[in-house]
């Protein structure tokens, strides 16, 4: 049979166009954000986190009272129109102190998480990438540190460094990078066998370039989730330390130290304990919702 030209039919225009990629391809982060937006709890968490962070930053300019000024005519006043959360035993406005507490508690949460991120990711990345003996030694060190009760070592470090914000930051950063290192290592161990790493190697990329530009960006999902969830745990630990008298001391305030100060008279003035506790709980809750939501959005494989 002879094939002639008129046996062919022209493809209609619409059909031809359907082969073109009309929209720009979505980046990983955009795609994840789209999935995150569907999760109402996580978005509520995200908005709350942004809200409380902004409040903490602008507090010195908006708060009508000073966080440290004492007024004994006004001691232990319950919540009123003038003092929304009431006043403490020295007549300091609790609303203002809770806002200032947000500054310190959130600073602890963010700074500790960022330091853990840097150290944990590098440690885990190196350990996972080089494997073999390096990995063995580095992971044994992590195992040993992991089996030590961290809180006790944070307490010992605090005793050496003395109470105060810088000591808390150092002590917590020295202790809490372990889980990040483990997670990153596990991710990299499986990633480094994939073809794109082989391709990068073939092209002559250096080890550092492969780790920093190829491997770590590919485990961003678990890293962001761990990061989000480590903020509340740092806030928790700080409040715990303040509670046993090793954290922030008056007149400065963190949420933990405010709660701890209110403990002495909580049976008579429960509102003094209620507001700082509420601040801790809501913030931790928001970070947890956001972290869970991010886990589902960034890494659909992990969803259960």
């Amino acid at each position: 049979m002879e094939v002639t030209k008129d046996m062919f039919e022209k493809v209609p225009k619409e059909e031809r166009q359907s082969l073109n990629i009309m929209r720009p391809s979505e980046t990983f982060l955009k795609d994840s954000y789209r999935r995150l937006k569907k999760n109402k709890l996580a978005m509520a968490g995200l908005y709350f986190v942004i809200f409380i962070t902004i409040i903490a930053i602008i507090t010195p300019w908006i708060s009508p009272y000073s966080y440290s000024a004492q007024d004994f005519n006004l001691s232990n006043v319950g919540p009123t129109k003038l003092h929304w959360f009431g006043t403490d035993q020295f007549g300091r406005d609790i609303f203002t102190r809770v806002l200032y507490g947000a500054r310190i508690s959130l600073t602890v949460g963010y700074v500790v998480s960022l330091l853990n991120l840097t150290f944990g990711v590098l440690y885990g990345g190196i350990s996972g990438f080089f494997g073999g003996k390096v990995d063995n030694i580095m992971m044994r060190i992590v195992d040993v540190l992991y089996s030590i009760p961290m809180m006790i070592y944070v307490i010992l470090l605090m005793l050496i460094l003395g109470a105060g914000l810088p000591s808390i930051l150092i002590a917590l950063s020295l202790s809490y990078w372990l889980s990040m290192a483990r997670i990153v290592r596990a991710e990299i161990l499986s990633l480094k066998e994939q073809e794109f790493v082989l391709a990068a190697k073939t092209l002559g990329a250096s080890n550092w370039r492969i780790i920093l530009r190829h491997l770590i960006p590919n485990c961003m999902g678990p890293i962001i989730v761990t990061l989000t969830l480590s903020v509340p745990s740092a806030i928790f630990t700080e409040s715990f330390l303040s509670f046993i008298g090793l954290g922030i001391s008056a007149p400065k305030a963190s949420w933990g130290s405010l709660a701890s100060d209110a403990m002495e008279s909580f049976m008579i003035y429960p509102y003094q304990l209620l507001f700082p506790s509420l601040a801790i709980c809501l913030t931790v809750l928001a970070f947890n919702f956001l972290g869970d939501g991010l886990r589902d959005a960034l890494d659909p494989k992990m969803r259960k």
Binding site: I148, P149, F236, F240, A259, K304
Partner: protein, 305 residues
């Protein structure tokens, strides 16, 4: 298997040695000696005290002495309480902590696993939501906040439970809830996700297809495998209860080691802090060792490297 156990025991000893060494040198790196309190001691008295506790010797010699005494099980004297040794402090106060701690562990395991099963079996229904809301709240409320609100509600308002003290079984209820709350939430989530994983496996389908009742399938087939991750959580669970005891024992007035430890910190009783730290670490290292060995027996699938 025995090779694995020997290896684990060896590793535990190394860990313990590192812990002891780190603690010793950390304590000696602390600014100011143990006798630089608010009261300034006369130089002669201070020198005498330092001789008495061996603090005038070179640090390596002190370290050697400390290790030697430790091998005999001697944690040294308390510096602030005349005539009390650290061993005595632990002997008198640890039983109370152990009692409260085991009740809290039992509470968080039983209730946590139960909540996890209920949530998994009713996935997506209101029971699931309820259990997960409780579990989420459990990880967001710090133990000292939970303790105080329990006291406010059950002791002050309802007058049902005694707020402080350590006399009868009623005194165990609130501290156990406050101590176990965080772990309970964790265990409930862990059980739920692990059970959901297991009930999608083929052998569960086989069991259902054989016509077994739902109860038999869940309790005899699914739960056995679903609870394996819980065993691995035992180590962190015990550590969490132990650190939780620092605040909970203080709030409820329980004469335990946690309260004693916080007291030692406030007093800056260096020998006692060091001794209790070493004791806690040894306790946890042994717990972890037992859990690891148990785990290897329970789940033969794990690779015994």
């Amino acid at each position: 298997m025995s090779n694995y156990i020997v290896k684990r025991i060896f590793a535990s000893f190394i860990t313990l040695w590192i812990v002891v060494t780190a603690t010793f040198f950390l304590m000696h790196a602390m600014p100011g000696g143990p006798f630089d309190g608010e009261k300034k001691l006369p130089d002669q008295v201070k020198a005498n005290l330092e001789t008495k506790f061996g603090l005038d010797k070179p640090i390596m010699q002190q370290y050697g002495l400390y290790l030697k005494n430790l091998l005999k099980g001697d944690l040294g004297p308390s510096i602030k309480y005349e005539g009390r040794t650290v061993n005595e402090i632990i002997k008198y106060s640890f039983p109370a902590s152990a009692k409260i701690g085991s009740v809290a562990i039992l509470f968080s395991l039983v209730v946590g696993i139960y909540m996890g099963i209920v949530a998994a079996l009713h996935q997506g229904k209101w029971q699931d939501d309820l259990c997960m809301i409780i579990a989420t709240l459990g990880v967001t409320v710090p133990s000292f906040v939970l303790s105080t609100f329990l006291i406010l509600i059950f002791s002050v308002k309802l007058k049902l439970l005694p707020p402080v003290g350590f006399d009868g079984p009623l005194n165990y209820i609130m501290p156990a809830i406050a101590l176990g709350g965080y772990s309970l939430s964790f265990i409930a989530r862990l059980t739920r996700s692990s059970l959901l994983d297991v009930i999608r496996q083929d052998y569960i389908r086989t069991a259902v297809a054989k016509g077994l009742s739902k109860k038999t399938v869940i309790f005899k087939h699914a739960l056995r495998n679903a609870l394996i991750p819980i065993v691995t959580y035992m180590g962190p669970l015990i550590a969490g209860i132990l650190t939780g005891s620092f605040v909970v024992e203080k709030i409820f007035g329980i004469p335990g080691l946690g309260r004693e430890f916080v007291q030692n910190i406030t007093n800056r009783d260096y020998m006692a802090i060091m001794g209790v730290t070493v004791f806690y670490s040894a306790f946890l290292v042994i717990c972890n060792l037992v859990v690891d060995i148990l785990y290897a027996f329970i789940d033969p699938r794990i690779k015994l490297e």
